[in-house]
Symmetry: D4
Subunit: 253 residues, 8 copies
């Protein structure tokens, strides 16, 4: 592929279609250009049907509105995360088509049809009702990228029978996201019950010695189950993104 | 009780059996004396059938041998913790009656008969084989104090069916000690399954981000189960001691 | 017990009272069902006369009002913790029977008569006036669960004679909750003075190098008294809950 | 499946092939038995061609030798990690068939043929020569589980052209393991260059403010690339295991 | 002293001025009573001319007003710390005699004449203008306790000539309080320049890796000057109190 | 130099131009005076064309206005950092000549002409748009001190081709400031690509396990590139100041 | 004083007793010389009868021997701290006059007579037998500096009556050193019982969550007693040094 | 430059000197090749007269010997850091020309003549004798890279007059390395006294709350002097390398 690109430039130069200066220009900062090209290439490939992601925190409603408008105009799907009331209003003022979710703080615009009920899916499993924001951010992310997601909420380990009632659904998933704050034990229990990678998202739910999610983070990093890896505290988007990439991995190539 | 002591001194003084100076002497540092007396009193009461506890770490074999000999001579029961090979040798050289356990690093001398099979018991539940040292220290402590202990080992949450197989035994206990390193999730799972206090003993088992047991400690402090309290990292003796005191609490007064 | 349940299903199946599909259904997710059943069983047993606990933090006044109304209607006792002014108003608008306490931030509805003056009791001992919120949360919890609680406030170790003045009351308790911020030394001093388990609740009272209660937490975990175990920073409810479970333990079975 | 198992027992009971007691026995602790059965089932499925994993640290050479002998006798494949010289000697004394690797500290016995050169593969990419132990533990784990692994070593970001020279190989992988100590920047750079999940394994390589790998761990958790998740410090086995599970995920069902 | 008290009770009892019950009562909880008495004694001795200290943070203006009124009525001197605007208003509404200082956030009422210009003094030395609140809290405390205080402000080590210009004044002090945030180097430099104890008060002045004063605290604890001891972050009162106690120590007994 | 100063005073004294008292005065606290003199001397030298720096945080608008007015009147150049809206208003009310920048939160008054396009320059390279505040503080500082600065923004390592596109500009710099939050990997990548000192400024951009910039700080301290040194979190001014001092170093003496 | 020194030089210069060059030399680096002179002056004053202190850790036996020999030859008193067996041997080989103490790891040579029994004294109070090394380092330091020291050992707060038995001795001290590891509560209790400054020396005695003495350090910094200041973990020398300087302070000037 | 390289390839291709395949090959992985080339180019330029650096820690004596031999054979200068006795022996066995320094743990081979006495220099200033290892590593590094270095040792701030005695030498330097452990105050004091960048190297010298150099590191990061930047704990090589690069910067281009 790179090969072809180079041959093409060389040919154009030999043919005279490309002057010396132009050819040099073409190769000049080749390290970056070709790298950029390759990257864009793979990115293009990767992003067929994938939404653009907008991180709203720290952006003004006007900025977010501008970005959303541009992406809409370009026919792109959109996922905006960490949005507040003011960003929701900006989206609503643009179009009624944006799906707005105050729990996950997301704004989604998706044009492609959702996956069918038989599609492979990721399960987003969360410990308590307070973990809903992070869990939903993960779930909405997975769906915004065009994949199927099943939610299993409020199955924390202090009442472990609730988890077992949903076990078949969880075991059917091709990727599992485990969302928990406080002591974060859910990730380890899940890791021992499924055969697929578990992406653990610690949350800042808790107080005192939870130290803003540190307790859950450390617990998940020390999981006695070997199939657990961890993302940053409250990083529902990241966990969902990895689940989506894992699902795409299944069908690709 | 204190009342009687005071009356006795007062009487002796009035009777002339005690001179002014002697009586003053008796009361002089009464704060400490009477306090000491009261404390000793309750301690005596408390220690009927209770062993003396010797913390061997940092003591020379000669020192430990001397203490053991003195306690033996006084007819006392003994529990020595954090003992090393050299302390074991010292004990063996004194008497074959010492029960020596290299796993829990304890030396025990107990003269009273063990509790019967129907006695209320504490359960010491541990996550992995590497937690055995701490778990056994807890169990030996409970037994050295004259109470019944049931051990449930190697039931970490990554293979949670192992825990359920032993659930009846655990649920029959009047106090539960939960011993776990790494992510320490066992304490929360146990807390949700039993109706009695769970004393959680985090262990330093793990590496990297376990930070010497900190991960398990924080997890246990943040347990979503409300009946879990926590002792210091690797403090099997403390956990066992609290379990023993809890069992005594049941039968006393 | 489980045995009987199983025999009953088997019998009903053999008798034809239960069809194959129904019997299978009965056993199908037996792991969770039976587990749920057992759990519920013990929970039922446990909850005779026990309140439902509502954690208000993060819940809207409307949500709390709805839960309180439902529990009232069901004749249940109620303990709501971490309530704010707006939750108090919601409770007041429902019924004048709710006991509202702004210090402990609790809402209580209790129909059963309180324990008599001779009942065994827990002592909640606190170091300073700033620790009152956590201490009262513990005390109200113990009482909401139907047990007797004695409060000993403002006996921090910097004026240790205040503690000794209340020693008889403290020594009469069957469980002691020690509440302290700053250096948390109260737990160790108490641990050396009583024969029962001490449940230590560190508070976030302090500034600078108290690091939000970390100093008190670490001090309590390192207590030189062996009968001290620790709950999370500011977790008055947890400490009170463990004291209540310990008192119930005394009278049960 | 569970359904069939239950129907089978019910049928056997109705037929009289199974007496009441035996049937009850079959169901008695069904929660655990059936759970165990299910778990074993999936485990069996999962483990076709998968090695048993032995964690040598803390085990005596005799213990390791015993386990290895048993697994060999059972015809099982074996992966032993964190082995020392004494464990190597134990393995050698059993059979010359064990593949012993002092760099990764692993012992492997694999009977199945390796995957072909066209098989999908994981790439294990490491920053410096000092990271070799962790990187090789990951790579050997992937291969021991029957998958193809490509190694890209010594491509730390301080000389980033080395990384680009190997980019095609890395981009061809279906799962990428990023192994780095010190500032752990490799994970972020890799995350931006590939389309598949990156499993980041921080190492304890470094000194001073690396705090035993904490610096690399935090860096990886805060990666600005969204497809990076993290395992514990020095946990090469875990990273390799997740890569292997991800590769299996591709071909399964 | 204690002796006299005891003799007095004994005498009263022998004389019949005190009945048995009353005498017992007198001695009954002697540990605390006598302790309390002794403590009060020393405290009384200690507090001749010493103000009562009121910690305003967390107290309502009404509470503070009440306490101030009571102390005024009793003719006591007063020092109130960590006062806010609302506490100032409360004090002003009581009497114009309160000295109110918004920088140190103190309220002082002192009736005794200030010490003469020849009195031994403490020096309060501070690094930057942002440290003024803590430095003034220390200085006002020293003066409220009746001792002389000299202030040396804004002599941080980044412009060390400023410190040397004031060296004679500093070297004349009998106790030195060093107040500094950021890197807290002032304490070490001072420690090397004076012959008296240096009480170091780290402040939370700084940002980023100052971690709320932790950097200064650690620096001061690790001072290469041997005469430096440290109080809590922002604890100007404590530093001033120790300086005052040290000055009193000079003149006492 | 000092020598000449001393000779001059001695000469003036011998000549009678300086009386004994005046000469003594000159030498009296020579340690500080001469030190002060030297310092001032070098500072004067250093500050030819250098602005005074005003740190606005914690200063009232009135205080800032007063300082600005005084500096303006004295013909001084000015750099004010960490300014808020209210400080901007104060500056505007004084003169329209102040350059006000809400992104970097700086106020600048510079009378000297800017450096020409051929002047040696520092490059301020930043990872993400959220790092702009710190990066601009560094850039404005460099320019306020009279040096040329080139900005390279939004070249974080997750899309590393963006960095390579700007590499020539970066490589032409004589000092490089690397500004990044989250995992801070930019500093290491830059360190490997340039031959001059890289001053790394970690930012508090991030959340969760970024711990307010600690992750980036530790990463930068552990950089595998040897030419990276680090300033405090969010200390754009410090990084810019060091770059300016480095540029001055090139042309001096 | 400085004034006279300057006048003297000026006079000598005017008189011709001092040439220009010599006078310049005298003033040349006056900042340091005069500073040095002043410092030495106070130091000389300070060190009349004070020992030289040698920190042995990290020095070879040969180095220590050399230093000791030189000091002996100069007639100086000596205190050497953190000495090991090899340093003891070096001292012994020099002279039998060195007092060698393996507990405190000190070597002392003191020629002056000890203080009389009526001399004011410091009390070194320690919590447990494991704290003896630090406590003795403090006590030996105080005595090596020529002051009287009373030791009160093994009075930790878990058995607080032991402390009260020694209270009169402690209350008679003019400075109190509190030595404790684990939870460090002794400092707070002592602070509430005495009227003089308490210098708290946390020790690294403990395990697990004591984090090498951090728990005791934080507890002491957060003491609810206002007269407590703190030195570094295990810094017995520093605590003793401050006590000695405080005692000297009493008698000086 | 890159331009010429590209033109050359294009010309050779057009001329037929280079076939299509060869030209493609030349450009194929141009991103890395050209990048590598560029990097090497600058590196070559950079390394004229610069030594190769060998990090010995973790390398066997045999490995180090091999590397040294190869570099010698290639006529290269050499700097080896973190060498132990065994690496010294390896170097000695190769050639007597290696300069071996056990203090800094370095091995140096330098063929070029040292810089003259008038060359611009860096000053390496260190606080205590225990900091010598790090300070010398910095100094030897500077000299190994061909620059002049002046050492100022043992000038810690607790005896600040020692620092002033050497101030002229320090002020003459064009780059200053500040090496200090414990409270690390030296960096701030130096920063206030010089006009050039100060590179601060915290050391792990200290104990207790120095936490392995963390106290010094934080102090240096929070320096109130704006010209201080920081390297990792004990990173003498890094500090020296930056000083060397800064000196080269002065003379280059």
């Amino acid at each position: 592929m790179n090969r072809d690109k180079i041959a093409e430039i060389l040919g154009a130069f030999k043919d005279g279609r490309l002057g010396l200066e132009a050819a040099i220009e073409e190769f000049r900062d080749f390290p970056t250009k070709s790298l950029g090209y390759a990257t864009l290439d793979t990115h293009r490939e990767l992003r067929v049907g994938f939404p653009e992601v907008v991180y709203c925190a720290g952006k003004s409603p006007g900025q977010v509105k501008g970005i959303l408008a541009e992406l809409m105009a370009g026919g792109r799907d959109v996922l905006a995360t960490r949005a507040g009331e003011e960003h929701f209003a900006a989206a609503r003022s643009l179009s009624p088509d944006f799906a707005i979710d105050p729990v996950s703080r997301t704004i989604v615009l998706r044009r492609s049809p959702p996956p069918g009920p038989e599609a492979p899916y990721a399960a987003v499993v969360s410990a308590g009702t307070s973990d809903a924001a992070v869990a939903e951010e993960a779930a909405v992310t997975i769906e915004a990228f065009g994949f199927r997601c099943e939610r299993v909420a409020d199955v924390g380990v202090a009442g472990i029978h609730r988890l077992f009632e949903r076990l078949d659904l969880i075991r059917g998933a091709r990727a599992v996201v485990a969302v928990a704050g406080m002591e974060g034990a859910l990730a380890s229990v899940l890791g021992g019950l499924v055969e697929v990678p578990v992406i653990a998202a610690p949350t800042s739910v808790g107080y005192g010695a939870s130290f803003g999610g540190l307790a859950a983070l450390l617990a998940m990093l020390n999981s006695c189950a070997s199939n657990v890896s961890v993302v940053n505290i409250d990083n529902g988007f990241g966990a969902g993104y990895i689940a989506a990439v894992s699902l795409r991995n299944l069908t690709q190539r």
